[in-house]
Amino acid sequence: MEINWPKVIEVFGSGILGVFLVMFLLQILTQLSTKIIDYIENGNKGGDLPPKSQTKEKS
């Protein structure tokens, strides 16, 4: 059986490159989305803190 080397090389190259590109893209998106969520959640926590004057009154 004759081997279709151009196809083998295409599958090999596009496979390795494709997996790395997709996983790299996922890494960037995961980092980005977690940073955005961290920012939102930290912002919310900041917003929930009682104003300084009230805190002083309670103490």
Binding site: V19, L26, T30, T34
Partner: protein, 372 residues
Amino acid sequence: MLDILKELIYSSGAVSLTAGNLVMWLVAFVLLYLAIKKQYEPLLLLPISFGILIVNLPLTFLMEPEHGLIWFFYHYGIEFDIIPPLIFLGLGAMIDFGPLIANPKTLLLGAGAQAGLYVTFFAAVLFGFDLQEAGSIAIIGGADGPTTIFLTSKLAPHLLGATAVSAYAYMALVPIIQPPMMTLLTTEHERKIVMTKLRPVSRLQKICFPVVTGMTIMLVVPSAAPLISMLMLGNLFKESGVVARLTNAASNELMNIVTIFLGLSIGATMTASTFLNPKVLFIFFLGLFAFVISTAAGLIMAKFMNLFLKDKINPLIGAAGVSAVPMAARCVHKVGSEANRRNYLLMYAMGPNVAGVIGTVVAAAILLKNLG
């Protein structure tokens, strides 16, 4: 009376037995022994071995197209791509992506381990397999049973039994295959590296991950949709925390039911005529090769990443990039704690381990796109 007796004997399966059937019984008994006595992946090896046994009983016609009982399980479950995605639904409901979200760099380790898969593709072609067969054999290196079954059923259905058994057998043998590679490719100093503490991951981040990841993968590689959509749906069930019944159903009842049909169907594809073939021996050899090379590729990827990272990672966690969850991560932890008793690598290794599941699906989808 004698005629009735003669007719009974001639209509029985016993007279149609072939030497091939007897050899397949032996294979079935060996697998039964490994499943029951050694407890190697018993949930799958047990139904697989029983499937092999009953399909090699002559005249039962269990795999007769349009008539046999197990043929219906196989046809509608595997040929129609129902069972592997359902397994992924259950898997998603069990997986915790937290360690991966806490350390997204480990996604690259999941990609690194897939390099071994393509090396095996190359080797399989050199061994004389056609391109579709080579793709089905290469995916064994991903150490992911459902993905192996999904891809093989599309590219080379005649190899389904051999590739599935090979994938599950090597997954069970992770604690034997991986440690020598780990010690060979890492130094004592590297194995002792203690990694920095993982950042906490919020519930919202865990909920967003399956949505963002699922959408991204399906947009870039649409042929991954059947597996990745179910994986991410199962995970969304779990992380949302509002559908406990669905999470339980996916990870317990549904998973158990489809596992029975999957094992039985795979075993039933292994008739003497399809399995007793020199090619099958090569498949087992190449499967092992794929697994070893994938482990090595993960380790080398981790060492390569360390060249650029300020906070070094323990390169052992690269070996968990093959997706045998959670055996590969446990194996990494064991080898790491042998080098440094204070080193607790399990959670760090779970990141590349679940990244390996995603990576194998992406690699399978790319192979399917190129060869299907």
